[in-house]
């Protein structure tokens, strides 16, 4: 097999499952359903304790980090503050916010930790996120024209997106996107292309833009006005504190950008066209989630800091399963993939990040040019990683 991103022929089903009969795919679906039912039935107070302890740790880090930055004139306080606030923001966005908004903890019936009430520490409002992420991205994962996470409207990340001259800016655009990732996500959540094409009403757009501006004002106000102002009044270290909150947001943005790009853009991950989801069965939907996602290898700290999105495959199969259980289902999912001859893409973070950047670089060239370069051997097709 060659690079998945080099495959341009539209197929009616995930190509990774071309060798499976409809009955086999249905059976795979039943096996995955059974795994999910078993885990969901076993949720208990230990799981509840887990998420509450992560939330408590996050709040202690957040408060301590911000208080340290009030004394940002002291280098040690500044460094400690930036470190703690960065970790707090990453935990809040990934292991807590993203997963709570998915409804992973709705089973506890605790209104303080619930998809209907959670608002998270980024400029994108949770409501819009639920639409573009929980609904569109998770239902139509990697389907061009339906899941706008494929390149977030601005990047060319698969050959299925036709080349246009703006793809030349793929790499610089992604370099700008990474440090401002939360802003990119928020603007992308407004679905501006849909509004331009008339698929989204003016009122809906207006409502979303207002919600975004309101939330962004509060986020910016907290990190770039209230915190520095208080630091200035207390210790005269307003500027240092401003630099500290900016640094924490930068760290968070770079980290989340890297993790998110590892989820669907490394080598060996398939993208799909709309024809492939016509009349899709539940089993086929599962196959598309497996073929369209990639995991990151690592230890418990890596999994925590990625919000367990390092188990991207498991997360896409079971988006509302509490994230602390992905580690437990991963070996079973991997075994099923082996049994059915499906890819299970996984690799260490640096390799996965490297692959996404390399793909984005290659795809900035027109396909014909790249093919010619490829024949000369300067760009080699690599086998997909199935481990």
């Amino acid at each position: 097999m060659t690079l998945a991103i080099l495959e341009a022929t539209p197929r009616t089903r995930a190509s990774a499952s071309a060798h499976l009969s409809p009955e086999q795919i249905a059976e795979l679906g039943r096996e995955l359903d059974a795994i999910k039912a078993e885990i969901m039935a076993s949720l208990d107070e230990n799981d509840a304790r887990y998420i509450r302890s992560v939330i408590t740790a996050q709040r202690v880090l957040e408060a301590s980090g911000r208080i340290c930055l009030l004394f940002g004139g002291q280098p040690v306080a500044w460094a400690g503050g930036v470190g703690m606030l960065s970790v707090a923001k990453i935990l809040e966005n990934m292991e807590i916010g993203h997963n709570v908004i998915h409804g992973q903890w709705d089973w506890m019936r605790d209104p303080d930790i619930h998809s209907t009430t959670w608002e998270w520490d980024v400029v994108a409002p949770a409501d819009g996120w639920k639409h573009t992420h929980n609904n569109l991205h998770h239902t139509w994962t990697n389907v061009l024209g339906r899941d706008d996470d494929v390149g977030y409207d601005i990047l060319r990340v698969t050959e299925r997106q036709p080349w246009s001259p703006k793809a030349v800016f793929n790499v610089p655009l992604n370099m700008v996107l990474a440090p401002f990732f939360e802003w990119g996500i928020a603007i992308y959540g407004l679905e501006l292309p849909d509004a331009r094409e008339g698929k989204k009403s003016k009122q809906a757009l207006r409502k979303d833009v207002l919600a975004f501006l309101k939330k962004a004002a509060r986020q910016v106000g907290k990190d770039y006005a209230a915190t520095p102002l208080l630091a200035q009044l207390l210790t005269g270290s307003g500027l240092a504190s401003l630099a500290g909150t900016a640094a924490a947001n930068l760290v968070r943005n770079l980290w989340t950008h890297a993790v998110i790009f590892c989820g669907h853009f490394p080598d060996g991950v398939e993208a799909f066209d709309e024809a492939s989801v016509e009349g899709e069965t539940r089993g086929e939907w599962y196959v598309r989630q497996i073929a369209g996602s990639a995991n990151i290898d690592g230890g418990p700290l890596m999994h925590l800091m990625t919000g367990n999105l390092s188990y991207q495959i498991e997360h896409h199969l079971f988006p509302d399963m509490p994230s602390n259980r992905y580690a437990e289902v991963a070996p079973r999912v991997r075994a099923l993939c082996q049994k059915y001859g499906l890819p299970y893409v996984s690799g260490p973070m640096l390799r996965q990040v490297g692959q996404t950047w390399r793909s984005i670089g290659r795809l900035s060239l027109p396909d014909s040019l790249r093919a010619r370069l490829s024949r000369r051997g300067s760009v080699r097709a690599r086998p997909i990683i199935v481990s």
Partner: protein, 348 residues
Amino acid sequence: MPKANTLTRLASALTYPLRLDDFLAVIDPRHSSRQLRAVVTKVTPAAPGVATLTLRPGRGWLPHMAGQWMRVGVDVGGVRQWRPFTISSPEGEAPSITVGAAGDVSTKLVNDTRPGDVVFIDQPEGDFLLPAPLTTPLLLVAGGTGATPMYALISTLLARLPDADVVLLQASRTPQDAIFAAEFAALASRHEGLKVIHWHSRESGRLKLAASIDTLVPDWRDRAAYVCGPTSLIADAEAFWSDAGLPLTVERFTIPRIVDPDAVGGTVTFARAGQTLDAPGASSLLEVGERAGIELPSGCRMGICRTCLKTLKDGQVRDLVTGSLTGEPGEHIRTCVSAAAGDVTLDA
């Protein structure tokens, strides 16, 4: 829900999207911006398998009136479960509930709750109240745990009108099962106007008002009457006072919900839209509503995105993917993968 005060609003410039309460909760778990909580301050055994829990509610609690009840929530197996309990303490005092270990929730409250634990609470509710303005004489008929609101009513009444003329007719299985018997006796020793009459069904048979009341309380016709207790006692009292053409104030304890594990299909009532529709067991409630032209939110239509969440007010639903049943009032259900199992009411 507690209203945000000025400090909270000011602090939110630094805490947004969280609130000050969310940080204070790390230190004092009674803080929550969304849900009232209370600390258990005392656990007193009241009878075999029965305990009285005294609570100290967090900010935002509206003090109860005598005879009211409150919903109390505890986490059982990590899942929040709510049950209504009568408040047995007099008006003006910290709320306390008297609980008999029966189901999951009450057993946890009686056996596993210690002073310092936090429980979740709702505002007090109910109209089983003393006459306003306060008039006497009164007759209170209590059966079993029906004595709990009576203790709140009597102790509140006597604190305001020490000479009040009130008769309590308390039915219980045996003298040991008579909840608050010692407390009532203590009150009666201090207040001549309070008369407590015990009826023990193990030795005298079930209390039949028509047969016994003239002997037990000869002047019953002159008294404003209250009844609280098991369904049979309430039915007997309602029939009796209605035959006499006299008013009766009744408190019913919520009857445990009967869950039918085999129910398939039924009706769905969309409470806001004001429509009740046939809901076959194989159709999602979302489809049923949409077909009738009711506007409902929806997204993935396969149970993963939670755009379609609606609050279940009554009834039980079956998950179309797993086949499992749920039916906790107040629970959020995904209408796109939930079908009616019996009659269902949605807050939609």
